[in-house]
Amino acid sequence: MFRYTLSKQKLEFLMAVRELVQKHIVPYAIELDDKVDKGVDFGILNILAEHNLLAPSIPTEFGGLGLSHLTTAMILEEIAVGCASVASIVSTNLHAVSPIITAGTSEQKEEFLPKLTTKNPQLAALALIEHKPNLDIFAYPGSMNIRHSSINVKEVDEDYITLKGYKDYVMNAKSASFFTTMFSATPKGEKQDLQVLVLPLDIPGITIGKNKKTLGLRACNANELILENVKLPKKYLIGKPGSGFLVFMQNLDRNVAFTGAISVGVARAAYEIALGASKNRIYMGKPSFEESAISYTLAEMATKINAARLSVHLACMFIDNDLDYSQAASKSKIISSSVAQEVTSKAMEIVGGKAYLYGHQSEKYLRDAKMLSIVDGSEQFHRNLIAAQF
């Protein structure tokens, strides 16, 4: 429905992206998923950069396409139909620059935003997840612990602060030219002590640690990020001291709908492959689509994907029009990630045999959908966000 709010030009652009995906991403999706350890594939990134798609919502004054949230979400869905990992590389860029766009100084914008809009692709990363290393059994599973940061201040002088700390599961880390993260002003790391900062890779003391093997979105390359005596110029701090938590939550709300759009793309890809299989695969003497148990299931899947897409688009429209978007954003995440999990699982059943072999698309869709459900807060996390406003 929201497609009708787009100009003809934007719709044509969207169709061009769809073609691009069919041509340059779909054929390599399985391979990308498999090459976990080998870092980001710059072949595909070069193509995205060429079309200025690495962070398409960056304003035109900084070299970006200046696309609305809505158009960006549609583009992410198209990319995710080809490969959810590639779409997640883009959404990670968007999430990482989001604090700069919403709360950064103009110097910060001028320094960092153009990096993502050149034809020579660079990436950005968002370092968010806390992880206490060296624990056999990890701390506080399942919910994002966003009320403190284990990046702490060691020293402060007039122009610099010196930081030390650790973040985990940093997507895009291996190829990022800068990072957005939060630090705690006090060792206790309370919510009211947090501040956001941007961290250029070339400052000494930054180590990109181990590559983490993940269930899905494997081509995103999640790594550890280790800071040892990083002497950060104060001009790289974003927002006021203590504003970190609010800046972070606002940007989560603004970006979670993108994760939703990627989930919709994965669900759509799984649905399409299942629909095709059901019309070709013979079951009990006829194409399995002619079994109502299967065709009705496909009808349900299509219905739910549409509902999920509408929820994502509504949240984006709210953001674009500066309406209160926080609830709509959470709802779009809840619905799209649960739909993606359901649809990808049913698609495997409908595709049958081959779907269960390693490297088949259906199997990858299921893993990606499951992983997307945990990225940017699980369904239950977002239900609690909504409930907190009752």
Binding site: M1, Y4, T5, L6, S7, L275, F289, S292, S295, Y296, L298, A299, E300, A302, T303, K304, N306, A307, A308, L310, S311, L314, M317, Q327, A328, S330, K331, I334, I335, Q380, H382, R383, N384, L385, I386, A387, F390
Partner: protein
Amino acid sequence: METFAWTKEEIDLIYEVRDLAKNKIAERAIYLDSTGDERQDWVIPELLARRNLLAPDIPQEYGGRELSMRMHASLIEELAVGCAGAAAIVVANSYAVTPILIVGNKELKEKYLPYMTTKNPNLACMAINETRSNYNIERLERGNEDLTRIATYAVKEDNQVIINGSKDYIVNGAAAKFILILVRSSYSKHKSRLQFYLLPNPSPGITVSEVLRKAGMRSCHTAKLNFHDVSIPESHIVGEGGGYLLLMQNFDRNRTLLGAIGVGVAKAAYDLALDIAKANGIFNRSNSYSYYVSSTLADLSTQIDAARLVVMRAAFYIDIDANYARVSNMAKLYATQVAQHVTSTAVDLVGRLGFLVGHPVEKYLRDAQMLSIIAGSDYLHRHVLSAQL
């Protein structure tokens, strides 16, 4: 480029209907729910007629409000928050009026549409399902490939058409000012033999053979009608020859409104559960029950919003005359599921009070169940939808 913003007038009308539903309709509906649907009650039709809401999509030239489908669906949702049965009255009218609007001749339009826009309430109905032990337009004989096994038939005699048969599950049937009936005409063949006629009511030969007591939606009256040698002028034909396509088009358009009823009844149950939770300070406590209630409510609200979007999309497609068959089907299916899930969960949340007959939360559950059967089962909808994949 569309923006989806309501005008000031549209917003005012939505609030007016919300107010009407909450303050007037809901009360009557609870009364009717406890006393049963054996009689046609006129309180709700009067409330609606006074505001010209009985068929608000009728063009202004016939006295109507000429609302868009989006507005129509929004008002149906608001009415359904008050009572799903009240909304079903309006939707039943819409099923009868839509074919006339699409292909009715000028005479019929001028004579019958204004009935639906007067301050005195008049109702209309559509008679489709044959009276049969195995009900419905779904096929009866094994292997017979004809989708619509309609047995009621029409014969031409001079300039009159004579109709004989019996129809079932007719909302508004007993008191309708006119009946849009689907028959098999003896003078044409196969699917195109299906033909709509408009029957003025009362007419000689039309009798109520049974009043149906429904498990929910008791604010609307539902009947079986018998047609014995009912004679009408030939001019009362609606859409000559295209009965099957007209039927499908009528179903496709009005399914969206059924979806809107689903959203409304879900919202009613959700609102009530939320109010009760708030009034009991659930959200200020820190115990397992509070967390269960609050996150469950968050989930219900998520689903209701998605259902509303799906319904609004279908309405929008109808308004711009895009291909709406598929999306209206989805709207009906999705909203029905959400309505049934939400009302059932609301009973769980509200708990023991749900034991009470007459307490709204339990009524919402029964009302939502009815959505599975009004105008075709969910299986039928899935079947139609899967043919469009």
